[in-house]
């Protein structure tokens, strides 16, 4: 029952292997096994979106994915968004628009917004609000988050 599984996967562009128990979620593996604590646990049942990552490019709640399901797939986390010493435009716009207060929901929002812009580079405000409805923020009232995403879409 305690035996661990070797999982081979690609995380933020890097091929790697990790050991995990079959019962461990991808979120737990990212945070506790791999030390990638950018994904946050807000609810552990898929309601808040703070643990959002991209799995083969698809937005998922990593608390609802098992670690072993990462076998042979690619995972993208907030730690992989900035590249070449440059913040991703979404990261930059979140800062410029003061789109975070406490910041705990920010990694999830960034990945959800990235996923939106990957699908729809020129969303309307309504489309942004609909896409981000799986992510809870308790600080901002969403106004500045929505503006940041719309502004980033203009930039990308």
């Amino acid at each position: 029952m305690k035996s661990k599984v070797i999982v081979a996967t690609t995380i933020n562009g890097e091929e790697l292997e990790f050991l995990c128990e079959p019962r461990q979620s991808l979120l737990e593996v990212l945070r506790d096994v791999l030390g990638l604590t950018g994904a946050k646990e807000g609810c552990n049942n898929g309601n808040c979106g703070a643990c959002n990552v991209l799995l083969d490019g698809v937005l998922v709640n990593s608390c609802l994915v098992l670690g072993v399901e990462a076998e042979g797939r690619t995972v993208e986390t907030v730690e992989g968004m900035a590249s070449g010493g440059q913040l991703h435009p979404l990261q930059q716009k979140f800062l410029e628009h003061a789109a975070l207060q406490c910041g705990i929901c920010t990694p999830g929002f960034l990945l959800a917004a990235k996923s939106l812009l990957d699908h729809n580079p020129d969303p309307t405000e309504a489309e942004v609000r609909h896409w981000l409805a799986g992510n809870l923020c308790r600080c901002t009232g969403y106004d500045k988050i929505v503006r940041a995403v719309l502004d980033a879409a203009d930039t990308v």
């Binding site: 808040c48 968004m81 003061a98 409805a133 969403y142 106004d143």
Partner: protein
């Protein structure tokens, strides 16, 4: 939109926050991200009952599970006598606080902590919880404040006696306190009224809803030094609470605050910290990390009080309010300490009143102990009074903002609870709302309506300390102790930059723990930009004075002959910049300051909301929202706007959806973020803000607290809008679809 008066170089600009990059790259360390070598994981066993006597606890089976390192119960906590402690926004009896940490003889709510386990990983700890056998004798429970006041209600705390207007009663009761504010002659006031409105209201228990669950990591060393890492609104408050709860000297406890994922008042009281410390000691002095699940957050931390409120107000035809009376019953949860006192302060604070009476009752019920939540008690109170004010205006045929203007408090008026107002901005804020394009825009369409409401919060000063060091290149390191929940590193650094005449970028602020800075009260009470801002203003003045002295020594002239302005020192035609002088310093220049400012000015907000009511389903859609507020002086306007927007959003959630739902056994049945329904991006429009700047004369830069005011008006504003949209006066929160449909059905029955 901002109205402004004074011009500053740094204050009023919108620089990026110093901690921004860490927070958008996932690098910032929050409480749950802490990892220490040899760390164990702790979990809490909680009561499945609303009210029960603990007959026995048997942890022997759990202790035999491989990987389990320690189990604790209330027996492991030191016995504590009655002692009242002021913990920022809450005053608590430490014996009750200890019983809330781990239940002693009785459990008082579903989710009350009973035992805790430390194990090699979180899964083993959870397995161990299932092996702890607790025998309960279930007792009758009471969830509702009014029922808890009745003669035959189950008694929660055998030793509780009512503090009846300052005099202690002698019979067992659930009523901890009855307070009263009184002025003038109520009967005379109502006799003078042409219109009187009286209504009773009920508001549900709601939660702060921060996205980061409570967490704590603790190490109890062999030399009895205790180290704690946690997300908290106040490291020094955690230190003091632990010293009291664990009965060890304050100096032996070091609390290092991590980044904090929201608090709203709910991360002041400790829950896990003392458990993690005790488990660490019992598990052989290994560090123990504990985090709550979302269900635990909802069942066992923070909510704010549900309430029953009766309001009666009368006014003359000319729109003058002649009398106001209110009775507020607030559910404190399992132990005394609801925010009913603050509610009594808020309920009529907007209006000049000659005749008033306010009665408040603090009542214990079998729900989690209430803790502070953004303007604690204010939203409940304003929902009641601002709905009645709206109805008075309607009955008198006066525009609701005009009606409020005719009665609005101004400098020199007295608050219902006594003190005299200094410079306040309610009138300017009402005028700003009245002339806002939102208020003047026509609203058309079926079942649409516009509502307004005003709100007050007193704010707080608190104690703050800060230290700064001048570096050889002229930049400045700033050490502060106020945890940054919403951008306060920026607003604090900006005030130091302004004081020193330096660019914002030259100030590097850092938030540190109890070992590294002087005492700081919690980030709460809307006090940080005000109080810690004042501390860095004093630090800046000391640094300038010392630097001026150094410049005088350099030029070998009397210090009085050196002028300082905009970061430049000058004497008789010679000039030296702050940076140049910093490079010439032999002995370092550092300065510290501690302050406890009292002249925090209260703030007022006026909110305008347009709604559309779906009369078939009862769903209320927010079409447009504007929040105007007297903010004193906006240091960083983006974060001030953010406070208004966030407060409005929380208030809208409180108004429309959020509530604790219990089954008939007193168990919370909606302890998840799916069933405890907070607003999403899809539920809200953009939230427009109007920053009215009526500078607070009690602060060097005119700062007033801004964080709490904006949650006070929304529920009433939404209720008033619903009335205009659908013709029903809603007197219960939340105004959920089921309640709207029921109200509409009652309305049509009455009409028939």
């Amino acid at each position: 939109m901002t109205t402004t008066t004074t011009s500053y170089k740094v204050i009023g600009s919108r620089p990026l926050r110093p901690d921004g990059v860490d927070k958008v790259t996932g690098r910032a360390i929050y409480g749950a991200d802490v990892r220490l070598p040899g760390m164990l994981y702790g979990k809490v066993l909680r009561s499945p009952h609303a009210h029960a006597r603990i007959v026995s606890i048997d942890a022997s089976a759990a202790l035999t599970l491989r990987g389990v390192r320690a189990v604790i119960t209330a027996q492991d906590l030191p016995a504590i006598g009655d002692k009242i402690a002021d913990l920022g926004e809450s005053v608590v009896n430490l014996r009750y606080a200890s019983n809330n940490i781990l239940a002693h003889d009785k459990v008082l709510y579903h989710g009350h902590a009973v035992a805790a386990v430390a194990a090699d990983n979180v899964h083993i700890a959870e397995e161990a919880l299932a092996l702890i056998k607790v025998e309960y004798e279930v007792l009758p429970h009471v969830l509702d404040g009014k029922q808890a006041m009745s003669a035959n209600a189950p008694i929660l705390l055998d030793d509780l006696r009512t503090n009846e207007l300052g005099k202690l009663g002698n019979a067992p009761t659930n009523v901890a306190e009855h307070i009263r504010h009184q002025r003038g002659d109520l009967d005379k006031g109502f006799a003078e009224a042409d219109v009187i409105v009286e209504r009773t209201f009920h508001t549900a228990t709601v939660h702060q809803g921060y996205i980061e669950p409570q967490n704590a990591t603790a190490l109890w060393n062999e030399d009895d030094q205790v180290f704690v890492w946690c997300s908290t609104q106040g490291a020094f408050s955690v230190q003091e609470q632990l010293a009291e709860l664990l009965q060890i000297p304050i100096s032996r406890i070091t609390v290092t605050p991590t980044e904090i994922g929201g608090g709203f008042g709910g991360k002041i009281n400790v829950y896990l910290d003392p458990l993690a410390a005790l488990l660490s000691r019992k598990a052989g002095h290994r560090p123990v990390k504990m985090t709550m699940t979302r269900a635990e957050v909802l069942t066992s931390t923070g909510p704010t009080s549900g309430s029953h409120i009766r309001v009666k107000m009368g006014a003359r035809r000319d729109g003058t309010i002649t009398a106001a009376q209110a009775e507020l019953i607030y559910e404190a949860g399992a132990y005394p300490g609801s925010p009913v006192g603050a509610g009594c302060g808020v309920i009529f604070a907007n209006y000049r009143l000659e005749n008033l009476q306010i009665d408040g009752y603090d009542v214990v019920v079998n729900r989690p102990k209430a803790s502070a939540y953004r303007a604690p008690g204010g939203t409940n109170a304003a929902f009641a009074s601002e709905t009645v004010v709206d109805e008075l205006a309607e009955k008198l045929g006066i525009d609701p903002i005009e009606f409020r203007l005719r009665n609005a408090v101004r400098e020199g008026d007295r608050r219902p609870d006594g003190p005299e107002y200094k410079r306040i901005g309610l009138i300017e804020t009402l005028e700003a709302a009245r002339s806002h394009p939102h208020y003047t825009a026509p609203l058309t369409g079926k079942h649409r309506g516009r509502g307004v409401a005003a709100g007050y919060w007193g704010n707080w000063g608190g104690k703050s300390s800060a230290t700064a060091t001048v570096n050889s290149d002229g930049t400045v390191n700033l050490i502060e102790g106020s945890t940054d929940i919403g951008g306060s590193r920026a607003s604090i650094a900006m005030q130091l930059a302004e004081t020193l005449g330096l660019p914002y970028e030259d100030i590097r602020p850092q938030v540190v723990g109890t070992a590294s800075v002087g005492y700081n009260d919690v980030t709460g009470g809307s006090r940080t930009t005000f109080g810690t801002g004042w501390a860095v203003y004093e630090v800046g003045k000391k640094i300038l004075a010392e630097m001026r002295q150094r410049a005088a020594e350099y030029w070998d002239v009397p210090v009085e002959s050196v002028q300082v302005a905009d970061g430049v020192f000058a004497h008789n035609g010679d000039q030296m910049s702050f940076r140049e002088l910093a490079g010439k310093l032999d002995t370092p220049v550092t300065a510290s300051a501690s302050v406890h400012p009292q002249n925090y000015g209260p703030g007022f907000g006026v909110h305008i909301v347009d709604v559309e009511v779906d009369v078939e389903t009862g769903k209320v859609e927010i079409l447009r929202y504007t929040a105007a507020q007297d903010v004193g002086k906006a240091i960083h306007p983006s974060y001030v706007e953010g406070q208004l927007q966030g407060g409005a959003a929380q208030g809208i959630g409180w108004a429309l959806n959020e509530e604790y739902v219990y089954d008939d056994k007193g168990r919370l049945v909606n302890a998840s973020l799916l069933d405890y329904r907070m607003p999403t991006a899809l539920d809200l429009p953009m939230i427009d803000t109007v920053l009215v700047e009526a500078p607070n004369p009690g602060h060097p830069y005119g700062v007033r607290g801004v964080g709490e005011v904006p949650i006070v008006p929304p529920a009433a504003a939404v209720a008033n809008a619903i009335y205009r949209a659908a013709g029903v006066r809603m007197t219960e929160l939340p105004m959920s679809p089921a309640r709207i449909v029921a109200a509409l059905a009652t309305q049509s029955t009455n009409a028939a």
